[in-house]
Symmetry: C2
Subunit: 339 residues, 2 copies
């Protein structure tokens, strides 16, 4: 909103290489670096920029501050019934997600449903990137993790839950991208409020409260106070569910404790993670069940304009990026290059 | 909002007997009648009146119209891996839920996670009543079914999804009631819009659109058009998830098809149903995981007033109703007595 931004155009291979080299120079193990680079390049390609190269510096700073182990090797703690537990050993979540996801998919195809829990991880990436591969294998998936502890309950006077993203994916058969959504529990991203603060603009009504618990349109006051949940008490309920699933259920930290223990380096905060996968083949004619969902979603895309389905815009961006590359903020590029 | 309503006070045993005798006189099998009466008496006790005795006439009319089989005996279709499928054979859902839930709980305790799907059922009751017993057994539970096809997508111009309720329960240990929420995907209940219409009052902004897809505050126009989802595109995403899970995934009808096929008798519409249960014992120290969730929820209850947690008010009503009985609308009482 201040000076004009300068951009450069990179191919997705160049984005990948840029992030990979930066992570390797920052001391990450090749496996950690590759897993993180994959999700960052995917986010850039989908023009989900808030989870793309923009995140690299925060991750590097989180390694430099000493809170994240750049060489951590995730391990499978147990595979009991249809539940898989993975310990990330205080590394980034991505490599642990890859390790657990492969087993989750196999287990769901064997049992009809399976759960993956990851403990002691630092999750910075978009959840849609975690579950899209599960739906590409023909399974329904959902996942959640605890976000920054910035959100009040509806009618509340202070922070109660994290921004708590929740994602869901439904397969659409071999020839179509899955239906995927990924929503946070806050009415708006904290970064958006930061933009209002920098621009000196008042917030829309109903976005946040100040430290005293009073509604305010002052962005700086909301950053010190709390953001409100989306959709009033219903969105708050979803946020509470996410916190219970990714925290207490899997035996990991609450957002408030993770926030209090954080070094404030701008990188991700420590926490737990959960993913559930369900195989449509266990509910009669699985292929027909998936096809029925696909036909319905296609009818919504066709007949309900101007409403748009989640993920449609990302897939259009992906196609464009694969052909024409992506536009990257020059200052972010330079900063990563200088690592 | 019109004339003053006359009330009578009944004990919960009297509520139970009133509903049971009505259902038996309407031709329901003793098992169907008892299962339905249990959830109706529970809803009255919790002062969740929109799912209490108020529903009896609609259910009886749905039997009289011929669409629901009052003698249907639900059967277990398959138990494969951690997935249980139950066919309600076009009866009410409640007896099928009881049958499947017992197996779901056993299966989740064996595998860590399990799914129950019910097909060909008519679900009229509140979802919290379905999952609270699962959480009372120490398990995390979620469930959903497709509601009346009245809701547009955010930014949409016509009906796309049902009111699509989604419920979640988390156990709080042996001495406390579980945390349970049960939210519909619409910004407001259709019944609420009906009350505005009767009172001739304009709706608040943002509740609905007319048949042409235009935003309107005219209640009658919204009843002919569509209600908007809660929380914009995020609530719409939850509503889409519910429809995909309880419809295509389990091989059952979409809300629009069920709505089109309905006889319009005011009773529930045909559809599918899904419930998922997860056992905290599979994630390390299960009792401590549950206790950590309970401590956190208790701290939210204590420190975050005036925000209230879901289900707190219902449990207070339950305690009161067990001691002092419930207040029942005289006209509803007379109508049920006359069946």
């Amino acid at each position: 909103m201040a000076n004009e931004t300068e951009y450069i155009t990179l191919t997705l291979a160049e984005v990948h290489d840029l992030a990979l080299q930066a992570f390797l120079r920052a001391g990450l193990s090749p496996e950690q670096a590759r897993a993180m680079t994959d999700v960052i390049a995917k986010a850039e390609g989908d023009e989900s920029r808030s989870h793309g190269l923009y995140r690299v510096m925060g991750c590097v700073n989180a390694v430099r501050s000493g809170k994240i182990d750049p060489k951590a090797v995730p391990t499978v703690v147990s595979e009991n019934g249809a539940v898989i537990r993975v310990d990330a050993h205080l590394g980034f979540a991505n490599h642990a997600v890859e390790l657990g996801r492969e087993r989750l998919i196999a287990k769901a195809k064997q049992c009809g449903v399976a759960v993956l829990a990851i403990n002691h991880c630092y999750h910075f990436s978009a959840l849609w990137g975690d579950i899209e591969p599960v739906a590409e294998q023909g399974l329904v998936a959902m996942s959640c993790t605890i976000g920054g502890h910035f959100v009040a309950l509806a009618g509340g006077v202070k922070r109660a839950i994290g921004t708590n993203p929740f994602a869901f994916a439904f397969p659409r058969g071999p020839s179509r991208h899955p239906f995927v959504f990924d929503i946070s529990s806050s009415i708006v991203a904290r970064g958006e409020i930061e933009l209002y603060r920098r621009a000196g603009k008042p917030l829309p009504e109903g976005w946040g409260i100040d430290k005293a618990g009073k509604p305010t349109r002052d962005a700086a006051a909301v950053l010190e106070g709390a953001i409100l949940p989306f959709g009033g008490h219903k969105g708050a309920a979803i946020g509470l569910m996410v916190e219970l699933l990714a925290g207490p259920l899997v035996g990991d930290m609450l957002g408030k404790d993770s926030f209090a223990a954080d070094t404030g380096d701008g990188g991700p905060m420590r926490g737990g993670y959960i993913m559930i996968a369900i195989d449509p083949a266990f509910f009669g004619n699985g292929a027909e069940n998936v096809a029925a969902g696909d036909r319905w979603l296609a009818s919504l895309e066709d007949d309900h304009a101007p409403a748009r389905l989640p993920s449609g815009r990302r897939y259009r961006s992906r196609k464009r990026s694969e052909q024409a590359g992506v536009r990257v903020d020059r200052s972010i590029y330079d900063e990563i290059k200088a690592i």
